[in-house]
Amino acid sequence: MKKILICLALCLCLLPLGATAEFDAASFAGATLNVYNWGEYVDMSVIRAFEKEYNVKVNYKTFGSNEELYIQTKAEESWDVMVPSDYMIERLIKEGKLQPIDKKIVDNLDQLAEGVRNLGFDPDNTYSVPYFWQTVGIVYDTTEIPREEMEAQGWEAFRNPAYAGHAYMYDSSRDAFMVAEKALGYSANTTDEAEIEAANAWLQDMHRNLKPSYVTDEVIDSMAEGLKWMALVYSGDAAYILSENEDMAYCTPYQGTNVAVDAMVIPANAKNPELANVFIRYMLGYEASLANSTEVGYASANAQALAELSGPGGEYEGNEAYLPRMGYEKDEVFVDLPAEWQSRQPDLWERIKIQ
C-alpha cells in the first residue's frame, strides 16, 4: 500500500513534467531554421539563446511589408516561421499556404494576453500564434497641440488646416484609408463603393488642408526629434518616440482604430515544421517575450510580460503608447480585402498624393 502511495506521489510529481511539450530537444542538433520577421522586431540575443539551447542555427531574415512577404511565399525559397499581419494571415490561410500549429508542442497558448485571444482571422490559433500587437494612433507634441484639443478631434486632426505643414502621414494606402473610414464612422474593412468614394474625398481634403509629408519609418526618428507637431504612427513606434521625447503624447482616436496583430505562422512548405513549432513555443514564452518587447517597444502577446512591462517599475510604466487599447468596440482588426481592392486602394492613394 505504502509503495503504491509513493508511486502515486512520484507520478504526481512527474505530472508537470509529463505535461510539457512533446518533442525531443536533442533531435534537432545541427538543424537550420529559416525565420522571416519584420525589421527591428526582435532582441537578437533571444535568437542566439534559442540557437544555443537547441544546438541549431537560425537563418534570420527581415522584410518591410506584408506584400513583400506575400511575394516570398510564391518564391522557391521555403521558410519555417514567418510573422505576417492579421489580414495577410487570413489570405495565406485561404490560399492553403499555412500548416496547422502543433498544439502538442506549442502548449503555452494559455499565456496569450487577453487582447490577442480569439481574433477574427484565426479564432482558435489553428494556424497562428500572436507575436506583437498594436493600435494605430497619433503621436503629437503637447507643447503645440494641447491634449484636450487632440483627444476631441481624433482623426479629424488630419483635416485641420491649423496644422498645415506640421504633420507626417504614414505612406501606406491601407492605413490611410483606415483613418478616413474610421473618421467617417465606417468600417475599416468596407468595400462599399459610396463609402470608399467618401473616404477618398476625405483623404483629398487631408492632402489639401494639412499638406502632410508622406513618410515611412523615418517618422520615428523625426518625431523623436520633435520636427513636426503630429504624425500617424503604430503604437509600438509611438512607445519608443514617447520614451525619447517627453513632450510627445499618444492619442488613440475615439472614432476607433485598427488593431494590428503580427503572428507567427508555419508555411505549408516548411522544411522543419517540428523545430518551427518549438521556436514558436520559445518565442511566446515569458522570458523571450519580455526581452523582445523591452528591446522593441511593441506590446507583447505574452500576458505576463505585457503586465510586467506596463506595470509599476516596468520598462514602459506610464508610457501611454505601450499598452494598446483593449475591448473598445469601434476598434477593428483588418480583414483581407478582395483582390480588386488590393490593387485599387494603392492606385487611389497615389493619385491623392500626386494632386
Binding site: E67, Y214, V215
Partner: protein, 259 residues
C-alpha cells in the same frame, strides 16, 4: 581574334541572364493583362493607354524630368568653370584635385543623403531647393570629370594660335575651348541626366515626402498594388525615355564632332 571572342562568352551569358531576360519579362508583362496562364496571354496596350491618358501620371513624369533637367543644367553651370579651373592647374595638382573630387563617390549614396538630411534639417529652405542641393552634390563629380577630360586633352597650341590671330582670352575661349569641350559636356549630360530621371531616393529623403516620382510609382504598383502589368508598362515607358535621350545626346555628339 576568334579566341578573344570566346573570352566574352561568360559576359554574354551574364547579360542574357540578368539584363536581357528580365527586360523581356518586363516587356511581356507590359503588353499583357493580369491573370496570364502559363500558356495563354491576353495581349493589350491598355497599360500604356492608362498611363498616357491620365494627367496625374503625366504630372509625375513631368516632375521627374524637370528635376533631372534642372539638376543637369546646374551641374553644367557649376561643373564647367570647376573643370576649366582644374585643367589649368599644374599636372600634379590636377591629379590631386581629381582624386579629391572622386573621394566622396566612394561613400554610399544613401549615407551621403542621410548626412545632407541632417545638415539641411536645421535650415528653413524650400524642400525643392534641398532636393536640388542633394542631387547636384551627388552627380556633380561625374560632370566635372567628363568636362575636365575633354579640356585636358585639348591641344594648347590651338589657343596660342588663336592669340596670335588677335583673339583675346574671352574670344579664344568661346571659339576654341568651348566648342572642343562639347563632347565632354555631352557625356557629362549622359552620366547626370539619365540616372537623375530615375533617382527617387534623394527626392524622397530630402524632399520631406512631398514628391511622387516615376520611381516611386513603379515601386508602388509592383510591391503594394501587386499590379505587375501596369508597373512594367511604367518601367518600359521610363526605359524608352532613357533610350530616346541617349540617342539624342549621341546625335548631338556626332553632330558636334563633324563641325
Amino acid at each position: 581574334m576568334k579566341s578573344f571572342f570566346r573570352m566574352s562568352y561568360p559576359y554574354i551569358l551574364w547579360i542574357a541572364l540578368f539584363i536581357v531576360a528580365p527586360m523581356l519579362m518586363i516587356l511581356l508583362y507590359a503588353v499583357t493583362r493580369s491573370g496570364n496562364g502559363t500558356i495563354t496571354f491576353h495581349f493589350t496596350l491598355e497599360n500604356f493607354a492608362r498611363f498616357l491618358s491620365d494627367p496625374t501620371f503625366l504630372k509625375v513624369l513631368w516632375t521627374s524630368l524637370r528635376i533631372a533637367l534642372i539638376t543637369t543644367v546646374v551641374c553644367i553651370l557649376i561643373g564647367y568653370p570647376a573643370a576649366l579651373f582644374i585643367a589649368n592647374l599644374p599636372e600634379k595638382r590636377q591629379t590631386l584635385m581629381i582624386l579629391l573630387l572622386t573621394l566622396p563617390m566612394w561613400i554610399n549614396m544613401l549615407l551621403k543623403t542621410y548626412a545632407w538630411r541632417g545638415i539641411l534639417m536645421n535650415f528653413e529652405i524650400e524642400s525643392e531647393i534641398k532636393v536640388f542641393i542633394g542631387m547636384v552634390y551627388d552627380f556633380l563629380p561625374y560632370m566635372i570629370i567628363q568636362i575636365h577630360t575633354a579640356i585636358a586633352k585639348l591641344d594648347r597650341e590651338l589657343l596660342t594660335a588663336a592669340y596670335d590671330l588677335g583673339a583675346n582670352r574671352g574670344k579664344a575661349f568661346l571659339k576654341v575651348t568651348l566648342p572642343l569641350s562639347v563632347p565632354g559636356i555631352i557625356s557629362g549630360i549622359t552620366l547626370v541626366f539619365l540616372p537623375a530621371v530615375s533617382s527617387f531616393v534623394i527626392p524622397k529623403l530630402l524632399g520631406g515626402g512631398n514628391y511622387v516620382l516615376i520611381g516611386n510609382l513603379i515601386e508602388t504598383y509592383f510591391l503594394v498594388a501587386g499590379d505587375w502589368n501596369f508597373g512594367s508598362a511604367i518601367s518600359l515607358i521610363m526605359a524608352l525615355i532613357i533610350i530616346g535621350s541617349m540617342y539624342l545626346t549621341k546625335k548631338l555628339d556626332t553632330g558636334a564632332e563633324e563641325e
